[in-house]
């Protein structure tokens, strides 16, 4: 009698051995790499606890450029611990290239690696057919779906894809496909990977992207984990899909804005920061606070975060405040300065309407700089890693 129900874990974009650089904090990078490992081990444990039938890894299991032998050995060992099949699809960060660990490592027998030469696997005992469209190079164009094997009517058919579904937001998207194209294939479930945030609301209802089990940056806020998927078939042969999100992430990136316009002192800023942080989950949340608004206050970010470092050792504060010229008054002047200010404010408004934050930031800084140049005939503004900020603010430091 054919199996009429399968349960499996769908994960992707684990990015083992990702360096996590950019903050100049070695301990932080090390901690985050460890977090990824812990999450990966959680996936294995979850598979054991939930007694799933198999695991799907939809690309970017590890970082080809950074993954060491020890990493692969550990992955192989963890996979080998399982008694269920683990179907791995190479992604753009771990493509199935000539010297890929996928090729060179002796993987346990239960690990099935799908590549363009062998893109399918049939798990007979589970009555499941799986087709994978992964990466055999670091870059590749739109997948050729015309060669995809037609689904089997008597099987649960799963299509694994590491790519972008209905999300062609870059000039050269990775394996871009549309919901319509996938729908035409007629598979029961489309297991996606590549996009690091959870997404289950595709036009294609039976498609899901679990995102990274462990978030990898501040553009991946919110909860992260894997999907526990159940496919069932009733007595009439009708199949039903159930997708359950399971949060496994060790950490959570949290972005917070602190409006400094109404803040009059460093102490007040510190107090306002405390109010923001108090809602966070200690030990789990990784906060980044962005100071916004126009202020005459030159905030010392290091001093500002010092009281909170014990609870939030990885607290990051970015100062994006601007000098507080009275642009309303200046714009009313009938002179070059006024004309310049009016022009810049108009452009800023247009930009904000378009939602182009980066250009708005540039225009905002350009306005400050232009006024300073007109008023002083020189630029005394300092540049300290962010955009220009008036040097006067140093003197006005409270």
């Amino acid at each position: 009698m054919a199996t009429d129900r399968i349960r499996f874990l769908h994960c992707a974009d684990i990015h083992l051995d990702r360096p996590f650089g950019g903050r100049g904090l070695k301990d932080y990078s090390e901690m985050r790499r460890t977090d990824v490992w812990k999450t990966f081990e959680s996936i294995i444990r979850l598979a054991e606890d939930e007694l799933v039938d198999f695991i799907l890894v939809c690309g970017d299991l590890y970082e080809h450029d950074y993954a060491s032998r020890a990493t692969i050995q550990r992955v192989g060992s963890l996979f080998g611990r399982l008694t269920i099949p683990v179907v791995v699809l190479p992604g753009n960060h771990d493509p199935y290239v000539a010297n890929s660990w996928y090729k060179t490592w002796n993987w346990p027998d239960n690990v099935v690696i799908l590549d363009n030469e062998k893109p399918t696997v049939r798990l007979d005992a589970l009555n499941t057919f799986i087709h994978g469209e992964g990466f055999s190079a670091f870059r590749q164009d739109t997948p050729d779906l015309s060669t995809v094997t037609r689904p089997f009517s008597d099987c649960f058919n799963i299509f694994m894809l590491h790519g972008t579904l209905d999300m062609n937001f870059s000039n050269r998207p990775f394996n871009p496909v549309s919901s319509g194209e996938l729908a035409d294939l007629g598979y029961d479930y489309y297991a996606l990977g590549h996009f690091h945030n959870l997404k289950t609301d595709f036009k294609l209802k039976n498609a899901a992207n679990p995102g990274s089990p462990e978030p990898l940056g501040f553009d991946e806020t919110g909860d992260h984990g894997v999907l526990l998927v159940t496919l069932e078939r009733d007595e009439h042969g009708k199949k039903a899909l159930d997708i359950r999100e399971i949060n496994l992430a060790q950490k959570r990136y949290v972005l917070l804005n602190l409006d400094m316009a109404a803040v009059s002192s460093q102490e007040e800023a510190c107090a306002r920061l405390g109010e923001l942080l108090c809602s966070l989950d200690l030990g789990r949340d990784l906060p980044r606070v962005i100071l916004k608004g126009r202020t005459p206050l030159a905030v010392d970010c290091e001093a500002l975060k010092k009281p909170w470092m014990e609870n939030y050792p990885w607290l990051q504060i970015l100062d994006e405040t601007r000098d507080c010229y009275d642009y309303g008054a200046i714009s009313r002047e009938e002179n070059l300065k006024g004309a310049f200010t009016r022009e810049m404010l108009q452009r800023l408004k247009d930009c904000e309407e378009k939602g182009d934050e980066e250009q708005a930031m540039i225009l905002s800084a350009a306005l400050d700089l232009g006024i300073e140049a007109l008023e002083k005939g020189r630029i005394d503004a300092r540049f300290d890693g962010g955009l220009f900020k008036g040097s006067d603010r140093e003197r006005r430091l409270i």
């Binding site: 051995d17 360096p19 996590f20 650089g21 950019g22 903050r23 100049g24 070695k26 990078s29 080809h64 450029d65 950074y66 060491s68 032998r69 000539a98 010297n99 890929s100 660990w101 090729k103 060179t104 490592w105 002047e333 009938e334 002179n335 070059l336 300065k337 004309a339 310049f340 022009e343 810049m344 452009r347 980066e358 930031m361 540039i362 225009l363 800084a365 350009a366 306005l367 700089l369 232009g370 300073e372 140049a373 007109l374 008023e375 002083k376 005939g377 020189r378 630029i379 503004a381 540049f383 890693g385 962010g386 955009l387 220009f388």
Partner: protein, 802 residues
């Protein structure tokens, strides 16, 4: 601004000079060198200071000193003015000491509230007038014969119009702001052409780090490649080992079969050798027993046979010779008997012959002719033949050789021929000699002959017998000589043969017996030779077989890799090779595998193992991912810094671009206004002849000339018109600058010098309009202008005479 008091303590030619100008038009008159221009300079010096900075036109020490009072009095002055808002100020300047004090209407010193210039002191005038000195000089003041401006001056005016701001004392300038932004871009970010600026440094370091990172990634790739190669090599090693095992198995099977074959072959060889050696022993025994032949060679045997055949011939010749001698002796005896019987005839014949001889001698003389005819055969012929026979007979003696039958026959033939020729010759003679038949016949009859025929027949018979007897005797003698020779020869040959057959059998002189002996000897020799050949043949075959056996054993030794010298050892080796099984391995369908192939495979395995060892050694030292992470860390930070710098650069460029754009737009607006005002003023001065002046962005002025459709640069007009154009421009500029701001007093020093009467009047009318809300200082030394001014201003004219 309206100047309320000019209190010149000492400045140029002035000392303790007090002037209280009116708030409107002030006509300052005086002859040349009365101090009109100095008065204007005093006002400017009071407002902006004399300066000492490099930028100031008044900077030169000589210029400053040129205003030092001639009489040595105090180099100072006081200026009082009222602003449009009613606030009044007093300025005290001590030019000697470079001191300036500004007091407000409440006599408070407010000097410190103004920005301070190192060269000129407090910059109150910029703030109160909203004009820099440069702009003031190019708009509010016309120096004598300097109404026209260079393009720079016009540009400064244009910029001032664009920058219109009265907010402070700063010398605001679009170009300065743009320059400041350019400097900020260069110093804080970097331009595309710079190499040492922050962005350049970040990019350089990034490039360096990217290089290092690329190298590290390359190392990592090589490390992964090594893994890939290791995997391939391990698979290859596995294949090679499998192949080697198969080859070895096949080789061993073939080896075992081969050894078995060799063992079998060796056994067969041993058997053959044994048989051959037994046969050889048998033959050798035989050969030993027929030792008489051992020293006999084939050549010797051939010589013996030849000797034997010669002996037999000599023996046969001897028998023939004996028979011939016997026959000759019989013949000789018969002839002797017949000769005895013919003795009477002989005697008769002798007598007859003598008779005939005598007769012949008698007849010789008479019958010379007949004698000559009777001598057909010369005498030397028989003589020569006989000599030849003797030479032939003697020849063996000279040559030291035995007389041989052919020679003997030749000698005989020669001798017989000589005799016959001699006889024939005698017969002829006789025939010739018989001539007188009658006497002869008678004598014949006397002798008892019946006739001539009878005589002749008997004589012939006698002669025949005699000849036969003689011949027979000779032949007999020769035969006997020959017999002796043959006997001697036979004995010699017999002796030779006997010596050869010594030990075989007793040789007999009898050829029949000897024939038997010889036959036996020959058969014995032939058998001996056959046996000897067979023995040799056997030896050769034994040797060949033994060589073959050695080769087999050598091959077996090589195959078994140990010394094998006997078939038994070979059998044992074959048995060991097959693991004790005596059955040959089945190698059906499998090609033989040479050791070379196995060695090649082993070599490949060894190489493969070496490569694996090398790869494993390489893999021991894995590239440090921590170092790579560190590099990545710095790269990330620098990339962020680069991004920020680029954002800053974009901000500066945006500020610059927008400022330039807005400035240009403003300039265009003010240019239009300026052009409008200028055109109105020139139209007023020229009575409508010129109605339009245009300014380009560089400050160049063009005039619309009625006679010409094109705009004409002002430089091409008359100097009077040029002055009028620039006066229009200054007034227009002032009017624009003053919009909503402080009114600027106007200082005109002999501005109408090049004007005609009509335009001077019109220009005064224009000034009247301009001075309605403005303080004007008009300096002139020309009485006509004073009259015209009085005409226009009437009582409102404030005349200041110097």
């Amino acid at each position: 601004m309206r100047i309320r008091l000019l209190d010149i303590k000492g400045f140029g030619k002035f000392s303790d000079k007090h002037i209280r100008p009116s708030g409107g038009f002030n006509l300052v008159t005086g002859s040349n060198e009365s101090g009109k221009s100095t008065l204007v300079d005093f006002v400017i010096a009071m407002l902006y200071g004399l300066g000492g900075g490099k930028r100031s036109k008044k900077a030169s020490a000589s210029h400053g000193k040129s205003y030092k009072p001639w009489n040595g009095s105090q180099f100072a002055g006081v200026l009082e003015y009222v602003l449009d808002d009613g606030s009044s100020y007093r300025v005290d300047r001590n030019f000697e000491k470079g001191l300036a004090h500004i007091h407000d209407g409440m006599s408070r010193d407010i000097t410190s509230s103004f920005a301070l210039s190192r060269d000129t002191g407090p910059r109150f005038a910029e703030e109160h007038l909203g004009l820099s000195e440069q702009v003031f000089l190019r708009s509010a003041q016309i120096r004598q014969m300097q109404t026209a401006m260079d393009p720079d001056g016009a540009r400064i005016i244009m910029e001032k119009l664009t920058n219109l701001s009265t907010s402070g004392s700063e010398d605001l300038s679009l170009s300065r702001a743009l320059e400041a932004l350019d400097n900020a871009l260069l110093e804080n970010v970097g331009t595309g052409r710079s190499t040492t600026r922050p962005l350049d440094r970040v990019e350089a370091r990034l490039k360096e780090l990217e290089g290092i990172k690329a190298e590290m990634l390359e190392q990592h790739e090589r490390y992964l490649d090594a893994w890939s190669m290791l995997k391939m090599e391990e698979e290859r090693l596995k294949d090679l080992r499998q192949k080697h095992d198969e080859l070895k198995m096949r080789h061993d099977a073939h080896l075992k079969n081969r050894l078995s074959d060799l063992a079998r072959e060796c056994r067969e060889l041993d058997r053959s050798l044994e048989e051959m050696k037994a046969a050889l022993v048998h033959l050798e025994k035989k050969l030993e027993s027929s030792g008489v032949f051992s020293e006999m060679t084939e050549k010797a045997m051939e010589t013996l046979n030849n000797t034997w055949y010669e002996y037999k011939e000599i023996y046969r010749q001897l028998e023939e010779c004996e028979a011939s001698i016997k026959a000759l002796e019989q013949q000789n005896a018969d002839l002797s008997l017949r000769l005895e019987r013919l003795q009477p005839v002989r005697e008769k014949v002798d007598r007859i012959d003598r008779f005939l001889k005598d007769q012949e001698q008698e007849a010789a003389a008479t019958a010379y002719q007949g004698q000559k005819r009777g001598g057909g055969i010369p005498l030397f012929v028989p003589v020569m033949l006989l000599i030849l026979a003797i030479v032939i007979m003697a020849l063996p003696v000279f040559l030291n050789r035995e007389m041989e039958m052919p020679m003997l026959a030749a000698a005989g033939v020669s001798a017989l021929a000589g005799i016959l020729t001699a006889l024939f010759r005698g017969t002829k003679k006789k025939t010739v000699s018989i001539s007188p038949a009658d006497s002869q016949l008678a004598f014949l009859h006397e002798e008892g002959f019946l006739g001539l025929n009878d005589y002749l027949s008997q004589k012939e018979e006698l002669r025949s017998v005699l000849s036969g007897s003689e011949t027979c005797s000779i032949e007999l003698a020769e035969a006997r000589i020959k017999r002796d020779y043959l006997l001697e020869k036979k004995d010699a040959l017999h002796k030779t043969i006997a010596s050869c057959l010594d030990g075989f059998g007793s040789p007999s002189a009898d050829p029949g017996v000897m024939e038997g002996v010889m036959e036996g000897f020959r058969a014995g020799f032939s058998q001996f030779r056959e046996n000897d050949r067979r023995a040799n043949d056997l030896r050769q075959r034994i040797e060949a077989l033994e060589e073959k056996r050695r080769l087999i054993l050598r091959e077996a030794s090589a195959l078994a890799k140990k010394d094998i010298i006997t078939a038994a050892q070979l059998d044992a080796a074959a048995s060991v090779m097959s693991g004790g099984s005596s059955e040959p391995e089945s190698a059906m369908g499998q090609e033989d595998v040479s050791e070379h192939q196995i060695r090649e495979t082993e070599e490949e395995i060894k190489n493969c193992e070496i490569r694996i060892g090398s790869l494993k050694a390489r893999l021991e030292s894995a590239p440090s991912q921590e170092d790579l992470a560190d590099i990545e860390e710095e790269v990330s930070q620098l990339q962020e810094k680069k991004r920020q710098l680029e954002l800053a650069g974009r901000s500066i460029r945006t500020a610059r671009d927008v400022l330039q754009e807005v400035g240009s737009r403003l300039q265009m607006n003010y240019t239009a206004l300026l052009n409008g005002e200028m055109s109105r003023f020139i139209s007023m001065i020229t009575g409508g002849r010129y109605q339009s002046i245009k300014t380009d962005p560089e400050g160049r002025l063009y005039l619309e000339v009625p006679e010409c459709e094109e705009l004409v640069p002002v430089a091409r007009l008359s100097s009077g018109t040029i002055d009028q154009v620039y006066l229009s421009m200054r007034l227009a500029a002032l009017a624009l600058m003053e919009r909503g701001k402080e009114t600027i007093p106007l200082f005109l020093d002999e501005p109408f010098l090049q004007y005609d009467e009509e335009r001077t009047l019109k220009a005064f009318k224009l000034l009247r309009e301009a001075s309605a809300n403005r303080q004007v200082f008009f300096m002139t030394s020309r009485r006509r202008e004073v009259e015209l001014a009085k005409e226009i201003w009437g009582d409102e004219l404030n005349l200041i005479e110097l």
